[in-house]
Symmetry: C2
Subunit: 105 residues, 2 copies
């Protein structure tokens, strides 16, 4: 994970509709949700939804698989974990015990 990648992931999540989409996918887990289901749940137009999927997908936060006419999207959990690790990297100068003592991590 580098700075550019982290910014892409954070930017992708820093938008109300995309954050809602992502949280829906996280809640569903690996099996994923089809695009139409999300459109219905969040009341977002197909075009707008597709735009947001593309952003999340390009950031590596979600993946997709096609099943007939339907496209299923699912969260990529490892990508999220890597992003969080990047944010807390070298926390408190690497002195993990000091960090934990302060309840910081």
């Amino acid at each position: 994970m580098d700075s550019v990648e982290a910014v892409a992931k954070l930017s992708a999540l820093a938008q109300p509709t995309r954050l809602a989409i992502y949280r829906l996918l996280v809640a569903r887990g690996p099996e994923g949700v089809m695009a139409g289901g999300i459109a219905e749940t969040l009341k977002v137009s197909p075009a707008t939804l597709s735009f947001h999927f593309k952003t999340l997908s390009h950031a590596g936060l979600i993946g997709s698989r096609q099943d007939g006419r339907f496209v299923y999207y699912a969260a990529n959990f490892q990508a999220m974990n890597a992003m969080v690790a990047y944010l807390t990297e070298n926390c408190c100068g690497g002195d993990v015990s000091a960090c934990q003592a302060d309840g910081l991590i």
Copy 2:
């Protein structure tokens, strides 16, 4: 933590300069870093830096304390933890064991 708050935090971090500032503060820990030190390290003009501090501060990600002419900024670790918790809330429908089995969290 609600959606609005989470978007504010994610937006604040979704910018290269602010992400670098935040990571510097995380690495330093609770004692913080004075504004000038960050300006020097990151080669950012004072006006721009102040703008970014304001954004991070308004999002609740950092705090500040004045010491004479200097202002020290420090990361707010609890805010970050709350944000991460919001992102992974109800992961895999709340079935934590299934989530862990897939190595997702």
